[in-house]
């Protein structure tokens, strides 16, 4: 195989995985804050929660558009099979994201148009449904997609199965944890204390869910199983569970201190990173398990090179100004700051 034809898809798979991971981290806490509205009814608290993300949520969601566009440009076969296969979950996710996205603006400006309560609910349920749907999409992708001749041949309801739905639930809990620990970092006094108390049970739930998904996934397919039982693959994967437990220790210790800030959030991100890596190890080198590899799915080298030339310059710049914009709005957010 020609070197370019071999290496370009690998490089792009890593870049695409990185983009999706950045999306999961950024929009994860963002969506999690919406889900936390379920348990937080005080208007002052809700305003602060939204204000911690108001300046950055657009940028967070852009990573998802980037993921879609990369898939379209670099792995068009994956784009053209995964999306039809997950037609309904994607549809529900998009509609949920619409309802929650506009709520940022509408909840304070509603002026009688359905009112703030309506848009708070829309923010909360939109975040919840979008999170669950993302988990279902992930779960169904791991389970495998029925493809013949690069065309989806399964049913639109394939995703209504125990594993994808369980993943939907797990991702929603994970995002809630990200949201809670983000607020431990970015808020003060009352709200921080509430979120710090909520983080511990969420952390426990997250660990239990990680354990179940980790045992369940290899049982889905023997190729997945071999990654975790055969030598030398096991050398790569063995550190993953160990690292999860190490982070758990750090997480619960830091939560016991009143002065804790960033550590719980970083631990939660660490868990996401490890799960994401574990997932990558499982499915590699398939982009549409069980039949389409990253090489089968990729566009011609001309397309990939054209995009790579731009991406290698633009992505570092994008990261730089994204960090700058977070830096501008650094520090804790309190009730007397109004973003609207």
């Amino acid at each position: 195989m020609n070197t370019l034809v071999y290496w370009l898809p690998i490089l792009w798979a890593v870049l695409a995985a990185l983009a999706i991971f950045i999306y999961v981290c950024l929009d994860g806490f963002d969506l999690g804050i919406g889900i936390l509205f379920l348990g937080e009814h005080r208007k002052e608290h809700r305003d602060v929660m939204v204000n911690t993300i108001a300046p950055v949520w657009d940028g967070n969601e852009t990573w998802m558009i980037f993921g879609g566009a990369t898939l379209y440009g670099v792995f068009p076969v994956a784009y053209g099979t995964i999306l039809p296969a997950l037609y309904l979950p994607i549809l529900f996710m998009l509609l949920a994201l619409i309802l929650r996205g506009v709520a940022f603006e509408f909840r304070v400006k509603a002026n009688g148009f359905f009112g703030m309560t309506f848009w708070d609910r829309s923010f909360c349920l939109g975040s919840l449904v979008a999170s669950i749907m993302q988990g279902i999409i992930l779960g169904q992708l791991i389970t495998g997609i029925d493809v013949k001749n690069n065309t989806f041949v399964g049913s639109a309801w394939d995703w209504v199965a125990p594993f994808p739905i369980f993943c939907g639930f797990a991702v929603a809990v994970g995002y809630t944890l990200l949201g809670a620990t983000w607020l431990v970092w970015r808020t003060e006094t009352d709200l921080k204390a509430v979120m710090q108390r909520a983080s511990a049970p969420l952390g426990v739930a997250m660990l239990v869910l990680i354990a179940i998904v980790s045992i369940w996934t290899p049982l889905l397919r023997s190729t997945y199983m071999h990654r975790w039982t055969d030598f030398p693959e096991i050398v790569w994967v063995a550190p993953v569970p160990v690292a999860v437990l190490a982070l758990a220790a750090l997480f619960f210790l830091s939560l016991r201190k009143d002065s804790t800030r960033l550590t719980p959030f970083l631990c939660a991100l660490g868990w996401f990173f490890l799960c994401f890596s574990g997932l990558g190890i499982n499915v590699w080198p398939y982009i549409v398990p069980p039949s389409i590899t990253i090489w089968d799915a990729s566009s011609p080298p001309e397309s990939q090179l054209f995009l790579l030339a731009g991406a290698s310059i633009l992505l570092p710049i994008i990261l730089a100004y994204t960090i700058y914009s977070y830096w501008v709005f650094r520090g804790t957010v309190t009730a007397d700051q109004h973003y609207h």
């Binding site: 657009d58 566009a69 053209g80 999306l83 309802l99 731009g310």
Partner: protein, 470 residues
């Protein structure tokens, strides 16, 4: 062969979602440029009226931008869910362009939007102006990429077709991006976006001028400035737009003559052709009934000569004809509104010279009536060019019927269409309601003061200070 009614619903869904979407980016493109100009003027002259106007329109921008983002997110996935065959075949060409749009434009807009909206006192005036400019530049870059993609679907070049898979492979990226219709479409769309916003701003200005007149008081400085700026734009850009539209039409005649025939309602190719003002196209019997036309002008407009030959739809086989009964009308609505906009622009110049610019009731009422004219013209133009491309998605190469997904079945399409209609109805009704509510408020003149008194509440530049009760 996919289910034809499902295919129709898939097309309807695309038209519906893109139609809702396109309004907001166009609004953002024009408004971001307007905001950058306002802030630039404020920095240069230090007149508080520009800051007042900046803050007033920034509130509008935040709502418009949010609706653009969420409706655009749908588009970037709808290609895959509903049009997977198209995506797989054209993905190697169009996918990288979309990805470039995200990398060069979407991130830029989203990255600086936060600073633009909430960061004035955190970063200082100059950096804030830089952020506003970045957002504005981002909207322009975004427009360029998406129009390059769209134009390639209209006038494809620089590709080769892979025999084994039927995929379009890029051969020459410069030829793909700078395809023959791209420059014309880009200019036409950019001017359209500016006109949309000019007439929104002008309409809001006219409303407040009329209100002041009714209440027998002097209008505020801010209202006069915004009305004046809007009418300058109308006077300059609307005539330019007519020239740009004419050039775009000639380009279409060269590359997509069947589209022109459908737009003009012509069945027979002829020289010394009339320009139809009205008619009822009948696709079945290949005739346009009840024609009202101006002799010779059709040839004159399309060929710039009185006896030039213009195409007729009968020159093209039946299975290559765009639905005339759609594009014939949308084209006429667009042209009529464009002419009215130019008329208002010229009329406003006359009134400036006469000295009754801020008071003339015909201009003020006319501008108020024309508030949505830019958007209606834009949507009509969009329908003309997109429906005019039928029955192809990639003109002459890939048919719409071969572009859809295997999951485009009637139950799926019905479910998703209903869901889209409900959600869009709720979201966009609320959004437009909020915008109208904002428009009904006059730009306040004390916001600059308010901020100087309370520097530590800086982040709240979009605070709703015009509702002291809240």
């Amino acid at each position: 062969m996919p289910d034809l009614s499902a295919l129709f619903l898939a097309r309807l869904q695309f038209a519906f979602t893109v139609g809702f979407h396109i309004v907001f980016p166009a609004f953002s493109i024009g408004l971001a440029a307007f905001l950058a100009v306002l802030e630039g003027l404020w920095l240069k002259t230090d007149k508080p009226v520009y800051l007042d106007l900046f803050k007033y329109w920034l509130r509008v921008f935040s709502v418009v931008f949010a609706m653009g983002v969420v409706s655009g997110l749908v588009m970037s996935y709808e290609f895959g869910t509903n049009w997977s065959q198209f995506s797989q075949k054209a993905g190697p060409v169009l996918g990288p362009m979309l990805a470039y749009e995200v990398m060069t434009a979407f991130f830029l807009e989203a990255g600086f939007l936060g600073v633009m909206m909430f960061g004035l006192n955190r970063v200082g005036k100059r950096l804030h102006f830089a952020a506003t400019s970045m957002v504005s530049i981002g909207t322009l870059i975004s427009m360029s990429w998406i129009l390059a993609s769209n134009s390639w679907m209209q006038t494809p070049q620089g590709y080769k077709i892979d025999a084994a898979t039927g995929r379009f492979l890029p051969a020459d990226w410069l030829a793909i991006i700078f395809n023959p219709s791209f420059p014309y479409r880009l200019v036409h769309m950019a001017l359209a976006a500016f006109l949309c916003v000019a007439f929104i701003v002008g309409g809001v200005g006219a409303w407040h001028l009329l209100k002041a007149k009714r209440q027998k008081r002097q209008p505020t400085e801010a209202v006069k400035v915004m009305f004046s700026m809007a009418m300058w734009m109308a006077a300059i850009v609307a005539p330019l737009q007519i020239l740009a539209g004419d050039a775009h039409g000639l380009n279409t005649l060269k590359y997509q003559p069947a589209k022109i025939a459908a737009m003009e309602g012509d069945w027979e190719s002829e020289s010394r052709a009339p320009e139809l003002l009205f008619g009822i196209p009948d696709m079945e019997n290949e005739v346009t009934r009840y024609k009202v036309g101006i002799p010779l002008i059709g040839s004159l407009i399309l060929t710039h000569s009185l006896d030039g030959k213009v195409p007729g739809l009968k020159d093209f086989p039946k299975d290559q004809r765009a639905p005339m009964y759609v594009v014939f009308y949308t084209f006429r609505v667009m042209v009529a509104l464009g002419s009215l906009m130019a008329l208002i622009g010229v009329f406003s110049l006359f009134l400036r010279w006469k000295g009754s610019f801020y008071t003339n009731p015909i201009l003020l009422r006319g501008a108020l009536l024309m508030t949505p004219a830019g958007f209606i013209a834009l949507l009509c133009g969009w329908v003309t060019t997109e429906v005019g491309r039928q029955p192809y998605t990639i003109y002459g190469l890939l048919r719409t019927v071969d572009s859809v997904s295997p999951v485009v079945t009637l139950p799926n399409m019905e479910t998703s269409m209903i869901a889209f209609v409900i959600v869009y109805f709720v979201v966009f009704t609320a959004g437009i309601g909020i915008l109208l509510h904002d428009f009904a408020q006059e730009p306040s003149t004390n916001e600059a003061e308010l901020e100087r008194d309370q520097p530590h509440r800086a982040a709240g530049i979009t605070q709703i200070s015009h509702h002291p009760a809240e």
